[in-house]
């Protein structure tokens, strides 16, 4: 391979180290106005009145937009969310009004002058309170519209927005074959994405009604679709542009601020309006990461063969479902983890609470589910008196076996987890022991976790690629994938360079996405961009190569079949000395007498998912993604057994990546994921007081991992090709995070010799658990 497998720096590298890289809020529009959100100060309350008169009288204020009780609801799966709350607020930070003014300062000051009268309601502050119906969040639940029929199964008169069932095998047989049964519960709090770039948008409505949106989004085509549908426009009237995005992690996959910005622009006769969130609003008003409670019951034979799994997962989706219903489904689909379990009874519920609503988050729910399952695996190993790694090895799923949803597995769609686990065992030096006393009050301990994740895209998710040529024979690549930091534009350029066997420096990747000019791509999510867009790029490259060969065959006076492309030339396979340069033919060939043929080569390619199917409502059977990426992870900690503080010494991942396109970049994705997982495991949580008010909406109170706190990272790859993916690659962008909180909890449980079935694993919480108190 010439280019695939090489650590090529990101195409936009020098933009990013010089300040030249422009993110959405770095741009301003001529004539632009500024919007600021007025947000709820209660977790749950009725809106009794909104007095905007004082706000409207402030200097520079042009409009104050408030919610309309009759407004259409919105949501990517179930339409349950008003873009602006009208009668009732259901979470702290929920947008209630938008103030539009001439300057940001005026907008913000006037936002403080909008007087909202609330009548507080009892907040539903946990999954337990939601199930006990402390209050009903959505009385009209039964009347909400799902976007697809038979997709969402609401339970009216409850706070349950969706239930997904997995029924596989025969549970009675499973339990009767089990000689050991363990039960385990896990609790994980909601958290935030905390992309460094707060969410922001600009919107403008032109005199002819065309809407232009500039946004920091992972899903520009979904924004286009949602805006056109919400405002009753055909899609050709809506153009969405996305420059470089300052981190996404799933938090920018569904439209939210875009609708508000269009409403704001409508209120000022279509003038461009810029709406930026403060960090506090980004943390509270825009969607976060789900919380989870789970019960796991595992049965196994004495020699550790798992015979039965009963698992219930309750997803805290917050006040609205957004992607929460889909994540509950994704958790159900992957509920057995990468283990062969023939008898499964799984239930996954999406639960409304008065927390900030949730959207996709790196791993689409798997990291929380994996935590629950992998804690249970450790407990099973303990109860069997078996090495936890050996227990996992015995049960790893293999080709020929079936997933929980009935998909038959093979090496291509699953990879080789045994090889990953073997390599992990060496990397983390498993044989030296799980728990080693290193001093009078110091204990070093290791924990592991396996993981797998397939995607949960629509069954018809699609991508396109367009290749154009410059007159000097260099190439432009235009795709709808958004660069959110994972280096996708560069990876796709590598695939193209490899396919055309050309210099990657002669490929210009169009960095921004414009939904009017870039080919459609479902969205930059689910670790599926390399697979989907990559396949489209390869097809476009083939298309371009075919056209080049056709023109070259005339110039070189031979049939096109005897020609090949490479090194920006088309040459005779049998004699490469006979060739014609791209530059001579890529934009039309001119004969010596001035006559011309051809024209610009336009390579086009597309890809659409195939053989995916929705899950059966009764059994869960169905195929949600084309393949899994599997891996094994470990964490090593040193715990102080006096005060329960600890240091994270090592974090390790071995993942089957199919084929590594860019090694240094791939390592960075994995270590970055591990770091995020450690942060979530040890300290991150969105905290609410008894009234549902968010307690920690700032980096000062919501702590991320900081420089120097990172452990030693151990990363290795196994490469089992996925045969239908570009050069065999698998998407791995999300996966570094998945098993890390579980591995951390397993390590700390071993170190502290107590079951730690929750995050965040703060020293105080470990101490409290150890002493038998509340977490």
């Amino acid at each position: 391979m010439l280019v695939v497998g090489r650590s090529i720096p990101k195409k936009e590298s020098w933009y990013k180290v010089t300040g030249a890289a422009k993110y959405n809020a770095d741009y301003n529009e001529t004539g632009q106005l500024y919007a600021w959100l007025v947000t709820s100060i209660y977790g749950h309350a009725l809106i009794k009145g909104i007095d905007k008169s004082l706000s409207l009288s402030m200097p520079g204020v042009l409009a104050v937009v408030t919610g309309d009780s009759a407004a259409r609801l919105t949501g990517p799966a179930l339409e349950d969310r008003p873009p602006l709350a009208a009668d009732r607020v259901r979470y702290f930070g929920e947008p209630v009004a938008i103030v539009v003014a001439n300057s940001p300062v005026q907008a913000k000051e006037a936002a403080g002058m909008v007087k909202v009268t609330y009548e507080p309601l009892p907040p539903v502050n946990s999954i337990t309170e939601a199930l006990e119906k402390k209050a009903l969040l959505h009385e009209g639940l039964a009347f909400y519209q799902p976007l697809k029929p038979n997709d969402i199964f609401v339970q009216s008169g409850s706070n349950i927005a969706n239930q997904i069932k997995i029924r596989k095998g025969d549970m009675a047989r499973g339990w009767s074959e089990s000689e050991t049964v363990i039960e385990s519960r896990a609790t994980l709090p909601p958290s935030v994405h905390a992309a460094m770039e707060p969410r922001n948008v600009r919107a403008e409505i032109k005199p002819d009604g065309a809407v232009f949106i500039h946004t920091s989004s992972q899903g520009p085509y979904d924004v286009k679709k949602e805006i056109s549908s919400y405002f009753g426009l055909n899609e050709s009237r809506v153009t969405v542009q996305v420059p470089l995005v300052g981190g996404g992690f799933g938090g920018k996959t569904t439209p939210q601020l875009e609708i508000l910005a269009v409403l704001a622009s409508q209120a000022v006769h279509g003038q461009p309006v810029k709406l930026e969130e403060s960090r506090e609003q980004d943390f509270t008003s825009s969607p976060g990461h789900l919380g989870l409670e789970a019960c796991v019951k595992l049965g196994a034979t004495r020699d550790g063969m798992i015979k039965a799994l009963e698992i219930s997962c309750w997803v805290d989706t917050g006040a609205y479902t957004d992607s929460g219903v889909k994540m509950a489904r994704a958790i159900a689909a992957d509920c057995a983890g990468p283990y062969n379990i023939e008898n499964i009874h799984g239930d996954s519920y999406c639960i409304y609470t008065n927390h900030t609503y949730v959207t996709a988050f790196r791993s689409f729910g798997r990291l929380s589910h994996t935590f629950a399952l992998e804690r249970a695996m450790d407990k099973l190993a303990y109860s069997l008196g078996m090495d936890p790694l050996e227990l996992r090895r015995r049960n790893l799923i293999k080709p020929g076996q079936y997933s929980a949803t009935g998909v038959r597995l093979n090496a291509s769609n699953t990879g080789n987890l045994t090889a990953c686990l073997d390599r992990l065992q060496e990397l983390i030096k498993w044989e030296e022991g799980l728990r080693i006393e290193t001093g009078p009050h110091k204990v070093r301990a290791k924990g592991i976790s396996c993981f797998w994740k397939t995607s949960s895209t629509p069954t018809n998710a699609s991508a396109g690629a367009l290749i154009t040529f410059n007159q000097d024979g260099t190439v432009n690549l235009n795709i709808g994938a958004v660069e959110i930091g994972m280096g996708i534009k560069t990876a796709l350029a590598q695939l193209l360079a490899e396919k055309l066997r050309m210099d990657i420096n002669k490929i210009n990747v169009v960095m921004d996405v414009n939904t009017s000019t870039s080919p459609w791509h479902w969205k930059t999510a689910a670790s599926m961009t390399g697979f989907m867009v990559g396949n489209a790029v390869l097809e476009a490259a083939e298309d371009a190569a075919k056209q080049l060969c056709r023109i070259a065959s005339i110039v070189l006076k031979c049939p096109p079949e005897v020609l090949e492309v490479g090194g920006e030339k088309v040459f005779l396979k049998a004699d490469p000395a006979i060739y014609v340069d791209f530059k001579t033919i890529a934009c039309g060939y001119e004969y010596p007498d001035g006559n011309a043929i051809g024209g610009e080569i336009l390579g086009r390619g597309n890809f659409i998912m195939h053989h995916l199917s929705p899950m059966n409502p009764e059994t869960g059977a169905g195929k949600t993604g084309p393949a899994w990426a599997v891996g094994a992870q470990a964490v090593e900690v040193e715990l102080d057994t006096l005060d329960y503080t600890y240091r994270i010494l090592k974090a390790a991942t071995v993942i089957d990546a199919g084929k590594i396109i860019n090694p240094q970049n791939a390592r960075g994705l994995i270590t970055g994921g591990m770091c995020m997982g450690l942060g979530y495991g040890c300290r991150e949580a969105s905290l609410y007081d008894s009234g549902g008010v968010r307690m920690n909406p700032q980096f000062r109170t919501y702590h991320l991992m900081r420089f120097g706190e990172q452990p030693e990272y151990l990363v290795d790859f196994v490469e089992t090709p996925q045969v239908d993916a570009p050069y065999g690659m698998r998407g791995i962008g999300e996966h570094g995070i998945i098993g890390i909180p579980a591995a951390l909890a397993n390590a700390l449980s071993t170190a502290a010799q107590v079951s730690l079935d929750f995050t965040p694993l703060t020293p105080e919480a470990i101490w409290s658990t150890k002493k038998g108190g509340p977490q």
Partner: protein
């Protein structure tokens, strides 16, 4: 008859020294240095990440010292030499950030680079503890800090061997 122009309370036209150039800006007393750099001078390399001094994405140099420009009033910056990421041209730390893949989305990168650059200038002999103390003032959500650590160590190494 000409009406007397209305002057807004406290607003002044001030001169700043930014990246070696004299720049003018109309400044309210409450404007931060970050506001003025981004909104009036078009220097958007410094990023708003929290406007609370927690994340460091807006870090610039004031007389060579790293400062979170969201925490400094613009009026305080008058008369001082301000350097933004746009003022750094081909420094070793920029090259090393590229070489080590020390960023993904790049939003925190300007701030990290300004801080790292200042560290190499002020403390070329920085030890592990000092590096950690300095760089803990910046947040990165994408990387696991390994690459940034490699870049700053290599930059200090280069500085010392020069």
């Amino acid at each position: 008859m000409l009406k007397k122009p209305k002057k807004l309370l406290g607003t002044e036209l001030l001169e700043f020294t930014v990246n070696g150039q004299k720049r003018m800006a109309v400044v309210r007393p409450a404007h931060t240095l970050l506001d003025v750099l981004r909104d009036q001078m078009g220097l958007t390399g410094a990023k708003p990440g929290c406007k609370n001094g927690d994340c460091g994405a807006c870090t610039v140099l004031v007389d060579g010292q790293p400062v979170k420009s969201c925490l400094m009033l613009a009026v305080e910056a008058c008369g001082h030499e301000i350097t933004t990421i746009e003022g750094l041209k081909g420094t070793p730390i920029q090259q090393l950030f590229v070489q080590e893949f020390a960023f993904q989305c790049g939003y925190c990168t300007s701030g990290f680079i300004m801080n790292c650059h200042a560290l190499t200038q002020i403390h070329p002999d920085a030890d592990e503890a000092l590096i950690r103390e300095w760089l803990q003032s910046n947040l990165c959500r994408c990387t696991g800090y390994e690459e940034i650590s490699k870049a700053i160590h290599a930059a200090l190494e280069q500085q010392r061997s020069r």
